[in-house]
Amino acid sequence: MNREYDVIIIGGGATGAGVARDCALRGIKALLIERHDIATGATGRNHGLLHSGARYAVNDRESAEECIRENMILRRIASHCVEETGGIFISLPEDGLDFQKKFIESCLAAGISAEAIDPKEALLLEPSVNPALIGAVKVPDGSVDPFRLTAANIMDARLHGAKVLTYTRVDELIIENGRVVGVKATNTITGEKSEYRAQITVNACGIWGRDLAAKAGVTINMLPAKGALLVFGHRVNNVVINRCRKPADADILVPGDNITVIGTTSSKVPFDQCDDMYVTPEEVELLLREGSMLAPALRYTRVLRAYAGVRPLVASDDDPSGRSVSRGIVVLDHATRDGVEGFVTITGGKLMTYRLMAEWTVDLICKKLGIDKRCTTAETLLPGSLSSLEDCKRTAVSSVGAKSSAFYRHGSKAENIDSSTAAKRALVCECEQVSVGEVEYAVNELNVNNLIDLRRRTHMGMGTCQGSLCASRAAAVMAGTGKSCSAKAKADLQSFITERWKGMSSVAWGDTLREGELLSWIYDGVCDLSNKNQKE
């Protein structure tokens, strides 16, 4: 096996995937290493908001400009990951309208279209919005699916020759003569240890990048800022709703796929909590209280689950909330900064600017490697992204729900889903309309190792029942593809159900608690998944 590369990228979030794709498109031989699955860190733990940049316009003009540029690029290159919902910034009586004026001016100055509309028009545009609003501004917000976006980048990187290793942990950086020349890594599934070498190693580990840098003796001051979010059971709103005031807690409500997300909180957390975060009752209460100011229906809408991510902010001051820190992109060439050659860190930024972050990083790589190749990621469509899906849709033969859902998720790539027989069209996940054919496509084409990976690629188990009904079916289909055996399937089911319950437990009241009971009756009571009744 060839273990020599031009570049090793560590971290399989949107940024790492973007760097791998950019390298591959410029003909640079790249290896991406991720210790878990793709999009498991901050990439998969945010609103999924396609920011217009309006939120940053008043305080951070540079971020706002980056956002709107990338917003327009993503609509084109990742049309199947983006939903053009539009957004509004509402002013409530307690906010007043002073901020609105400054807000519109700042948006326009940053190149973001911002149009004040009548509160009545806002209610027509988005009937769920708080009817007490006194003003509203329309902006080009949208929603973006971070899992799909990352998967599409990975897919394109591989199509252009990049190598991607998930479930591979970097144990140490190989440093020779003050220069990072590669990594020692362990496959966490097989336990196999390997060495990979490259001229440049890129640290795209998000908040975990501090620890990686430390392996090279480099210090990066990072500020882990936890952001908690709640997922509601269905779409409450079809237009993004923001609060028109200085950014604060729980003031963005995003419709994503079949659900709605409210977030976020912001609190400083110690580094040792970054790997395993729970959403506290106080955070849940705050999110519901503030969220229902945006859309009163949230007060009585079923909450599916809670989750939290860590913003990889690079500390520039000692602001305890982590909110006034710039969301700006930070590219560190450790050769010039710390005297360590062959090591680059890309951090800061946000999901919206992952592509630009990758562009800047690969520009630096090219400079260091003496390669003269221009970045083309802003023009080259990601796999699955096509301007019109109508032709593909007409040829597919599944039910309306499954067909529309598959194209919603995979864009034109949904053509590769086998729907030729009733058995392939049968649904695994009914809430999210995932067919047997789609599961098989994901397992065979999208680098799926377990049920949780499958969930990230297909939405299986992300609907109302949180996997109660579909997890066992999905495990059976996976076993049928030869990627699993019964013992592995059982362990896989255990970790999948545990992960689902973790998100539900913070919001386990009412219907979600009843759902949890059903989940436990099925998997513990009927299937004895926790081996309570097993005798050796």
């Binding site: 079923r302 039910s399 729900g401 529309s404």
Partner: protein, 403 residues
């Protein structure tokens, strides 16, 4: 008190017991079942109406999913509301003819011998199938010569002599096809010391208009009925009693859930004949003089879906059991498959008969003399598909107190 929220679908835990009890899903694999068509599908339709699937027309609106649901999700209502809101299929001549029971009925009763004889002819039924897509194997209910309302007008003075009164919602079927059932009801009520009067103005309850996509017309008729019933219940303090279980269900529940009317002030004033009479017989002040010479008959009771949805099946059963000459047989509760106008449509015929097949077999095996049921369309289906004659429990009761 339990309050229906707009998002009743949220209570669904996806346990799928509704689909287990769905009569259509059991026989027609093309129907996705109530869970997917109802709460699952509605969640997708909230994202975009493009997720609406015309297969929802396969739902026969029996509401057995709602009876089965442990979470109180109004699954059938979600499906019917989605059809009302999203269906692109415009109702045609067939739907117009099947749904406009008042119009068609009032014309047919004028010339009923001709209509009955003609619709009984096989070639005519083939033409009806060709032109209207109504299955040629389907047997139409016979039209009466003269309406029940016409008979009641002549009864007015006699009925007014009773101090206690009920208002009778007779429905189209009694009016145009089966006036004897209405007359049986009047006979029983009179025997209990009640006079029977009609509502100021009665229109078809509209169940067929709703299921065939004539929503505006259904709303108009509902408004007329609600006004008349309100006058009886609120102003005159008269109980409104109906013999048809589906009419009763439509007036009480579908008006609110599907047509959006606030009928809470009159809902409890609308009662089903068997329930009303059973309660009278149990209150200690009312008795019926049964004819000791009435011949002993074996009666198998079939519980109509909408009666099951109201939870009132036991009243019809217990009333039949009170009749001395009746040997009672309870049939397992299952849909007969016709669901009003559903089974008339050519594309639904096979499904309709497949759903009813186990019931038909049970009826033949019961060795009954009569089948009893509170629903007229169940009666058509059972009479067409078995060798038995079907009577309403009130007709059986009237026979037992006859001379």
């Amino acid at each position: 008190m339990y309050q229906y929220s707009e998002n009743n679908l949220e209570q669904c835990t996806k346990c799928t017991v509704c689909t287990v009890y769905c009569p259509v899903a059991a026989v027609n694999p093309l129907y996705p079942g109530p869970k997917q068509a109802g709460p699952d599908g509605e969640r997708l339709r909230m994202k975009s109406p493009l997720f609406y699937d015309e297969s929802l027309a396969m739902c026969l609106n029996c509401k057995r999913c709602e009876v089965a649901c442990p979470s109180d999700v109004r699954i059938g209502d979600i499906i019917q509301s989605a059809r009302i809101k999203h269906s692109k299929k415009k109702p045609g001549l067939r739907e117009f003819t099947l749904a406009n029971t008042d119009l068609v009925g009032s014309m047919a009763t004028l010339v009923s011998p001709v209509v009955n004889a003609t619709l009984g002819l096989k070639p005519v039924r083939h033409i009806v199938e060709g032109v209207m897509n109504i299955d040629h194997r389907r047997i139409f209910p016979k039209y009466a010569f003269g309406t029940f309302e016409g008979w009641m007008r002549k009864q007015r003075k006699v009925q007014a002599q009773f101090t206690k009164q009920v208002a009778y919602f007779h429905g189209c079927y009694v009016n145009y096809n089966n006036p004897p059932l209405g007359k049986a009801f009047v006979k029983v009520m009179n025997a209990l010391g009640y006079g029977v009067q009609l509502l100021d103005k009665e229109k078809c309850c509209g169940v067929a208009l709703i299921s065939n996509g004539f929503i505006e017309k259904a709303k108009k008729q509902a408004q007329t009925n609600i006004n008349s019933i309100r006058k009886a219940v609120v102003e005159k303090s008269l109980p409104v009693v109906a013999t048809s279980s589906t009419c009763t269900f439509t007036l009480r529940d579908e008006y609110e859930h599907l047509l959006g009317f606030d009928n809470r002030d009159i809902r409890e004033g609308i009662d089903l004949a068997t329930k009303f009479i059973y309660n009278l017989l149990c209150d200690g002040n009312h008795t019926l003089a049964f004819n000791p010479d009435a011949p002993r008959i074996r009666v198998a009771y079939h519980s109509p879906c909408h009666l099951e949805r109201m939870g009132w099946t036991p009243y019809s059963i217990e009333l039949l059991k009170l009749i001395p000459n009746v040997e009672f047989v309870k049939l397992d509760s299952q849909c007969c498959g016709i669901a009003g106008t559903y089974g008339f449509k050519k594309e639904n015929y096979e499904t309709s008969q497949a759903i009813g097949a186990p019931l038909f077999a049970a009826i033949e095996a019961s060795e009954c003399d009569y089948v009893a049921t509170d629903c007229e369309t169940c009666k058509w289906q059972i009479e067409m598909s078995t060798t038995k004659k079907v009577l309403h429990p009130i007709e059986i009761l009237a026979l037992a107190i006859g001379h």
